[in-house]
């Protein structure tokens, strides 16, 4: 957007972050045990946790990305945002309550109630680290680019500053600070989006339908602006996108971990319904803002909006503020501040999740070290992870296409973790070997298909390009239609090959506990 250093944006960002640091300070004084560090002591209310979960998903990727897609391609961007509304219905229906009833810190706790702890924890640690590192890389690259484009901070410095800030939340405040960061950010984001929608209605037209008509007339696609297929070429790309988006959260470790921060199943489902409502409401508004950007900026805005359309929303913001002047500066600064806070919050959650699997699943549960050491090990792991990620981020630089990193992370989560969790919860024949084979086959299939797919293959014809042709051996950007079945198949084949004796009692125990919460630690109290 601006070429130089954007003072207003930096000041507003610092103000927003200052409030989150106050929250971190208070959180650090209340974070003494590992339960407090990993899961805020299980004392979050459903409403707070739901807002934090929504915060995880209302990321800068959705704020800038959905708006940009809707701006560039119309209906394709809208359906993308709309399918994302179903994410937490899946989480709610399939796992939220059961996971809360069975687990403590990581989802491997739930698996270990009926399968052999060692192998299951090692394999889920592998998939968790894989997912978190790639997701983190995507966040860091996007963060550096964003800071450079919007605040005028050099890419490398942007990445380092983001890493240091994010580590501060993790090291000192643990899950409590990370959750509060998400909540503050989510509220700020919603306020900004609501403000922008109101301004759009005032400045362009009070009737949203007229705005849509204007957008259509401004588009190079004409009436086809409201048809699908402008960016997703062919029916299978749309179907795989819809399935991938809908299943994207069911296996993401940092999202699953959030369900351990509430005391019981009742609060777990309250979290889910809050997340569904907030994400649903905001995706609709964000898609509408993308359309409004088309109506306001017209075709002339395409140059400002950038190739992926990521800067369409900032451009609309400047336009709403009246072009140059303090009003536009301030509005833009709000969008920048919220985007940066989002990025920090999501990264902090990822680092926390990755270090929890190292400290809890590996250190404490597989190598049988005392649980009191978990927090120290977790902090060391967090620092090491961030150093590695920053190194890799600086090495690959800001020109890297980050879509494939994020797609890799969510597709792997859905292909490696989701089948194993579902089969362990529901299938009596499931064995430890099935979990190991299922997770690995899901992970490797997703990896292989993305590496041979259009996001990576030379002469990139990525997801969002206008070109129909791709040289990639595998034609779909989202591998999920094949890799999720591969994960399920791995579970089944592994279980049938296993010589492990049937343990019906353990499965019955898991089912009873999953549905009733029997044996759940009832000593936790809600923090208000």
């Amino acid at each position: 957007m601006s070429d130089g250093f954007n003072t207003t944006a930096v000041v507003v960002t610092i103000l927003l972050l200052a409030t989150t640091f106050v929250a971190t300070y208070f959180a650090s004084r209340r974070t003494k045990t590992s339960a407090e560090f990993w899961t805020a002591g299980g004392g979050m209310t459903g409403r707070k946790n739901g807002t934090a979960i929504a915060g995880d998903f209302l990321s800068s990727a959705s704020l800038l990305g959905y708006a940009g897609l809707a701006y560039l391609y119309g209906m394709d961007g809208i359906v993308y945002a709309i399918f994302a509304c179903g994410i937490f219905l899946m989480v709610m229906f399939l796992i939220a309550e059961k996971l809360r009833n069975l687990g403590r810190f990581t989802f491997a706790d739930a698996l270990a109630t009926r399968l052999r702890s060692g192998p299951v924890r090692i394999v889920s640690a592998i998939s968790t680290l894989f997912i978190c590192v790639f997701y983190l890389l995507a966040q860091m690259v996007a963060g550096g680019v964003l800071m450079e484009a919007l605040a005028g901070i050099d890419f490398s410095w942007g990445v380092v500053i983001a890493a240091v800030l994010m580590l501060t939340y993790v090291l000192f405040g643990g899950m409590l600070a990370t959750t509060w960061l998400q909540i503050i950010k989510a509220v700020a984001l919603m306020s900004v989006v609501a403000l922008l929608v109101i301004l759009v209605l005032i400045r362009i037209d009070p009737n949203p339908l007229n705005i849509i008509e204007q957008a259509v007339s401004q588009s190079k696609f004409g009436d086809h602006y409201l048809a699908t297929g402008n960016s997703f070429k062919g029916p299978w790309n749309i179907i795989s996108m819809a399935v991938a988006v809908t299943l994207s959260a069911v296996g993401l470790p940092h999202v699953l971990m959030r369900f351990f921060t509430v005391p019981d199943a009742i609060e777990a489902r309250k979290s889910a319904i809050w997340a569904i409502s907030l994400i649903g409401g905001f995706n609709v508004l964000i898609a509408f803002l993308g359309i409004s950007a088309r109506a306001a900026l017209g075709a002339g805005g395409e140059e400002i909006a950038g190739k992926g359309g990521n800067l369409a929303l900032p451009a609309l913001t400047v336009w709403l503020g009246g072009g140059d002047g303090f009003a536009s500066d301030l509005l833009l600064a709000l969008v920048v501040a919220v985007s940066i806070a989002t990025l920090l919050a999501v990264s902090a959650g990822l680092v926390l999740s990755a270090s929890s699997t190292i400290a809890h699943d590996l250190w404490a549960k597989t190598f049988h070290r005392p649980e009191t050491e978990e927090m120290t090990v977790g902090r060391i792991a967090a620092v090491a992870l961030v150093i590695v990620t920053v190194g890799v981020t600086l090495a690959i630089g800001g020109t890297q296409n980050v879509t494939f990193l994020a797609t890799l992370a969510t597709s792997t989560a859905a292909s490696a973790n989701f089948p194993v969790l579902i089969m362990t919860l529901l299938w009596r024949r499931m064995r430890t070997l099935g979990a190991v084979v299922g997770a690995l086959s899901g992970l490797l299939t997703a990896l292989a298909l993305i590496l041979t797919g259009p996001l990576v293959w030379p002469s990139l014809a990525p997801l969002l390009s206008d070109s129909l042709t791709t040289t990639a051996p595998f034609p779909l950007a989202f591998p999920i239609l094949l890799s999720v079945p591969a994960g399920f198949l791995g579970c089944i084949v592994g279980s049938f090959l296993s010589r492990e004796p049937a343990n019906d009692a353990a499965f019955d125990e898991l089912q009873v506990r999953a549905l009733t919460g029997a044996g759940l630690d009832k000593t936790k109290t809600l923090a208000h």
Partner: protein, 113 residues
């Protein structure tokens, strides 16, 4: 995980009449809820994937079939979520009945000491 070795016959509990009531009620909810979701999902994906031109037609100026389907999908998802939360209150009561079966209550007490 089990804090004490107080034996609980989980298999018997799983087929206890109180548990069967909970299981039946959940199954009847999820049968309907998944069907409704499947219809909504397939309708939106189906039109988006195979009928882009129908998606683009506008029965009312500014309001296309695609936008109507999208809003209907969001409304369906939210209603299913709200319905789940309401129905789950009933499951809490049924689950409490399961937990009051003598075998498990002893263990609960032992576990929380």
């Amino acid at each position: 995980m089990p804090p004490t070795e107080t034996a609980v016959d989980w298999s018997r509990l799983w087929s206890d009449p109180s548990m069967l009531r909970l299981r039946r009620d959940r199954r009847s909810f999820f049968t309907v809820a998944w069907s409704v979701f499947a219809v909504a999902f397939c309708a939106l994906v189906g039109f988006a994937a195979f009928a882009p031109e129908i998606i683009a037609t506008r029965p009312v100026p500014g309001l296309s079939v695609g936008l109507i389907l999208s809003l209907a999908y969001v409304a369906t998802v939210m209603s299913l979520g709200a319905w789940y939360v309401r129905r789950a209150r009933h499951w809490d009561i049924l689950a409490a009945a399961v937990l009051s079966v003598p075998a498990i209550r002893e263990r609960e007490v032992a576990g929380n000491v």
